[in-house]
């Protein structure tokens, strides 16, 4: 299915089936078939490695934002040594503009559970943890129930489906810190510690949860896995954009008529998403800019969007990133200074505070932006802002500092006039 043909696409991650979140309904619709195949169909799958190979070939690119090939990541796990190994499923979903994993929690939790179980088998994992953001307390409860149902049906636990494969499944949740979505910070949090990202190396595949081999995947990433197993890697890799294939949950928010989460092939043109999928601009206003994939991805002006589609290559060429495919749409009345200040406020509020450049840089950025927003800024402050971003980028333990710096750098460069107009006139006479 090509991206252009998105109108004929039928959702597979969150299909419109009533009560699909119930395990019986899920089973009736082919649920847990993929797990059965993997565990018991020796003709189709000859051991864990064959599962990894299939997933690698499908090229499921991580839906948590970084876009790393899931199967390839799984292959980094060291050989099993009889000790515990972990899968940590990232449902922290806190990046502004991103609200897609919640749809899976709500409408199709078992596809995620099944995907996690297949991943566990493929990597010979002994325990699965799913980490859900604390604000999603209702989904935490739903997930607990879904996991219990799967235990009761024998999909989780000892000797699953008579295959001899054992795995545990734990549901955990956060306490309102964005940084706990960063994978190593999440591991600390699961261990019951303060959510400080870890220094790498060692990488989680070597030393993850409790110092043991661990793989971290996003909820949506894992939810794609049963689809790959049932329909084959080539079926999956032919959906949507070539280099970033598969179904995507687009979270569209902002000044459109029908904001929401839409499942479509990857690579849908940005204009189609805004004008057709999301029902067009609200109140007939003109489009001013978008943030394509969560608040850390660089903003794109309307004039930069000609022919741009929601896939990693196209967005990179345009000067941004796909991120989490959380598309924020802004109309002509949007005050970019305000927008940027609000984003900077978020990162300032969420920096864990370990690294000097992030701890003190994020606050400095916000405070200068507030000054500009209040009309007290000077043009030299804009250059200072750009300097600060240079001083932050690439110099910290985790990518939050980059995520905080990029929007500032790109919004100022791409809307410089608007920022200068908000600054005080120079008090120095021009020569």
């Amino acid at each position: 299915m090509s991206s252009a043909d998105w109108k004929n696409y039928k959702p597979v991650l969150i299909p419109e089936i009533k009560d699909l979140h119930k395990i019986d309904v899920y089973e009736k619709n082919g649920g847990y078939e993929a797990l059965k195949q993997v565990l018991t169909d020796k003709k189709k799958f000859d051991g864990p490695k064959s599962v990894i190979d299939e997933v690698k070939a499908a090229n499921i690119r991580g839906r948590g934002g970084a876009g790393f090939n899931a199967g390839l990541k799984w292959s980094f796990m060291p050989p099993a040594d009889g000790g515990p190994r972990y899968l940590a499923c990232n449902g922290d979903e806190s990046e502004p503009g991103t609200f897609k994993d919640r749809k899976i929690f709500e409408y199709n939790p078992h596809i995620f559970i099944e995907g996690a179980l297949i991943a566990a088998y493929a990597m010979q994992i002994t325990s699965i943890y799913v980490y859900i953001r604390g604000e999603y307390i209702d989904y935490v409860k739903m997930m607990e129930k879904a996991v219990q149902d799967a235990y009761d049906k024998g999909y989780i636990g000892k000797d699953i489906l008579g295959s001899g494969f054992n795995v545990e499944f734990h549901v955990t949740y956060g306490a309102g810190a964005y940084i706990c979505g960063e994978e190593t910070s999440m591991l600390e949090s699961i261990e019951g510690k303060r959510g400080y990202p870890r220094v790498k190396p060692p990488f989680p595949a070597q030393k993850g949860l409790w110092g043991r081999p661990t793989t971290i995947n996003n909820i949506e990433t894992l939810s794609c896995v049963p689809l790959v197993i049932k329909n084959g890697a080539s079926w999956f890799s032919e959906i949507g954009a070539k280099n970033h294939p598969g179904p995507i949950l687009y979270g569209i928010s902002g000044h459109v008529n029908r904001p929401g989460v839409y499942e479509l092939p990857s690579g849908v043109p940005v204009h189609d998403l805004i004008n057709e999928v999301a029902g067009g601009m609200r109140n007939g206003k003109k489009l001013k800019a978008i943030i394509p994939g969560g608040s850390s991805t660089p903003v794109l002006r309307a004039d930069q969007l000609e022919g741009v589609s929601m896939d990693s290559d196209s967005l990179r060429e345009a000067g941004s990133m796909l991120g989490t495919a959380g598309l924020v749409v802004m109309d002509e009345d949007t005050d970019m200074v305000d927008v940027l200040w609000r984003i900077a406020h978020f990162y300032h509020h969420e920096s864990c505070g370990q690294c000097t450049p992030c701890r003190d840089g994020t606050g400095w950025l916000e405070k200068i932006l507030l000054k500009i927003k209040n009309g007290d800024g000077e043009v030299k402050d804009l250059d200072l802002l750009l300097d600060i971003t240079t001083q932050m980028e690439g110099r910290t333990i985790c990518a939050l500092a980059d995520a905080a710096a990029w929007p500032v750098r790109h919004t100022i460069t791409r809307f410089r006039d608007e920022f200068e107009a908000r600054c005080k006139k120079s008090v120095h006479a021009m020569a």
Partner: protein, 576 residues
């Protein structure tokens, strides 16, 4: 041997090594804050940035690939790396701030960030003068400030525990204090609270930071965020002299520095010794500084009609000499002390031997269960093993009492036997008691003659710790008796070292009227017609080393070179 290239210079190395430590060990410098050699490296301050590359190797041949000039091709890490958590690898190429502009720039940038929210407290901050942030800012930091918005405000003067006070605004969130309680003292009493620039260390609600080692966090805090409740605002560091010494409040013998101003010891800090106490010491050992200043015995005293009254040195000296002369030597009991140095106990022993009296006895001061397996030992005395190795006779309380009963004249070397309930005042009722003491105590009260002697802060002398390690002190302050210009053991004053006039030696204030015990013994010997020549700790130890096999090969020179010498084998099992 594997090699590494730093700023173009080649170094060989062995084993697993952290790049930052290797650079420091080789006399070069990189600014850093969060790294501490005895703790894990969280790499959070981001100050120690360097540029790192590895030579490219041909996959098939394993040979280094060379460029057209015959130089190794280097693959550089795309980002700057922190040196503290980088392990050196063979062939690694490192560029520091000395040779790379981007590195220099990055270090300056990080300092700019640290300073952004740092209060301008230096003029009133205890850390000023010994502050890594201050020093590194001068060396590597930006000039002026571009931070023209409001600084973050946080709590100041927070009493974290009985001995440590936090100024959260000064904290740079290096987590050294937290890691100390997690990794070293294992009390786990501190954690960082809040996020981002609101971060600072706290205890759990309702809990105190009363860790027995809490003051070490004050030492390792790279800024003035943690200060000592006792020491804060007492002195600027540049007004004080720093003299190496040994903690005499416990048998462990932690290596310490005594900080002096105007002949008063103002604080005690740990001195690094890998074999004894690493970088640490217990809080209680620091409190011992008061013993050097307060409640000292000043000039001799004699008992008249049950009351001690001051006497002249001559008079006290003559009275004691006559008493010794007129007493049957079998009825003199010399009591040595695990609280006194090797040299003092040896002097006592020499006197006893030459007089033909019995070998001096001593009683250990061991509290079973007091030790914590770290730097606090059951043994409360710094020199129990010294007494043993010298050959003093070890007596428990019961047999000591027996000895006392059958004696007429008792000569007691600095040991508070009554205070620590080995003897009762009544045991000494009808005896003539000569006490050599540093401080006024219940024991000094019973003396018929009380002679003030020097403390570990006033003489050079050695102590053998529970692990049989002999270590020594230096005089850190003058007494009325000593003259710095004549005493080669005296450490340099700031005037000597830096040419500043903030010097603690220039004052006559606070000099205690006391004498090194061996000097008193020498003079007494002369008066009694004995051949005793005990001039100073250094010579006495040489004599000991020649005479007593357990001390052979030991000298001040050797102790200074090796930071103490182990006198054989394992720790003596502590028996009380």
């Amino acid at each position: 041997m594997p090699e590494v290239f730093i700023d173009g210079k080649r170094f060989e190395y062995e084993g697993e090594q952290r790049l930052l430590q290797f650079i420091l060990d080789n006399g070069m410098e990189i600014p850093f804050f969060c790294y501490h050699p005895s703790m894990s490296a969280p790499a959070n301050c981001r100050q120690c940035m360097v540029k790192i590359g590895q030579p490219k190797k041909d996959r098939e041949t394993g040979e280094f690939e060379l460029d057209e000039n015959g130089e190794r091709k280097i693959v550089w890490f795309p980002k700057l790396q922190t040196a503290c958590n980088t392990m050196i690898a063979d062939g690694m190429v490192v560029l520091t701030q000395e040779t790379d502009e981007l590195v220099e720039r990055a270090q300056k940038d990080t300092l700019e960030f640290i300073l952004a929210n740092h209060p301008l407290d230096c003029p009133i901050c205890d850390q000023a003068g010994e502050c890594p942030l201050q020093i590194q800012t001068y060396k590597y930091g930006p000039e002026g400030s571009r931070f023209e918005v409001k600084k973050v405000h946080k709590p100041k003067r927070v009493q974290l525990g009985p001995r440590v006070i936090l100024d959260a605004e000064r904290c740079i969130n290096c987590t050294r204090c937290v890691r100390f309680t997690d990794e070293i003292s294992k009390s786990h009493q501190l954690t960082i609270m809040q996020r981002g620039d609101k971060n600072y260390p706290v205890t759990a609600p309702g809990r105190e930071f009363d860790d027995a080692y809490s003051l070490n966090t004050v030492d390792i805090c790279p800024v003035g965020a943690l200060t000592s409740a006792d020491f804060r605002f007492k002195a600027r560091v540049w007004e004080m002299n720093q003299t190496p010494s040994i903690d005499i409040s416990n048998g462990k013998g932690c290596n310490i520095d005594l900080w002096t101003r105007d002949n008063l010891i103002l604080r005690i800090t740990p001195r690094y010794n890998e074999a004894v106490n690493d970088h640490w010491m217990p809080d209680i050992g620091r409190e011992a500084y008061k013993l050097f200043n307060e409640n000292r015995v000043q000039r001799p005293a004699q008992k008249l009609d049950d009351e001690q009254i001051n006497s002249s040195w001559n008079n006290a000296f003559e009275t004691l000499a006559e008493k010794i002369e007129s007493t049957d030597k079998k009825e003199i009991l010399f009591i040595g002390s695990p609280h006194a140095s090797v040299e003092e106990n040896y002097s006592l022993m020499t006197l006893a031997n030459l007089l033909g009296a019995k070998t001096p006895v001593f009683t250990t001061n061991i509290i079973e269960g007091y030790g914590d397996g770290f730097l606090l030992d059951d043994d409360q005395a710094p020199n129990t093993n010294g007494c043993r190795l010298l050959g003093l006779e070890e007596k428990d309380a019961k047999s000591l009492k027996k000895e006392v009963k059958s004696a007429k004249l008792i000569v007691l070397l600095n040991d508070n036997l009554i205070d620590r309930e080995v003897l009762e005042a009544g045991d000494l009722n009808d005896k003539f008691v000569a006490v050599f003491a540093t401080n006024r105590t219940e024991t000094s009260k019973v003396a018929n003659i009380l002679i003030p002697v020097t403390t570990a802060a006033e003489h050079a002398a050695s102590y053998v710790n529970v692990d049989k390690r002999i270590q020594r002190t230096f005089p850190a302050k003058e007494t009325k008796y000593t003259d710095r210009r004549l005493d080669i053991e005296m450490s340099e004053g700031r005037l000597d070292r830096y040419g500043t006039s903030f010097d603690n030696w220039v004052t006559e204030d606070n000099k205690v009227d006391c004498i090194p015990f061996w000097n008193f013994v020498s003079q007494l010997g002369e008066r009694l017609g004995l051949k005793i020549e005990l001039r100073n700790g250094r010579e006495i130890l040489d004599e000991i080393s020649n005479k007593i096999p357990a001390f052979s090969g030991v000298s001040y020179e050797e102790m200074d070179v090796q930071s103490g010498i182990s006198l054989g084998g394992k720790k003596e099992t502590v028996k009380s």
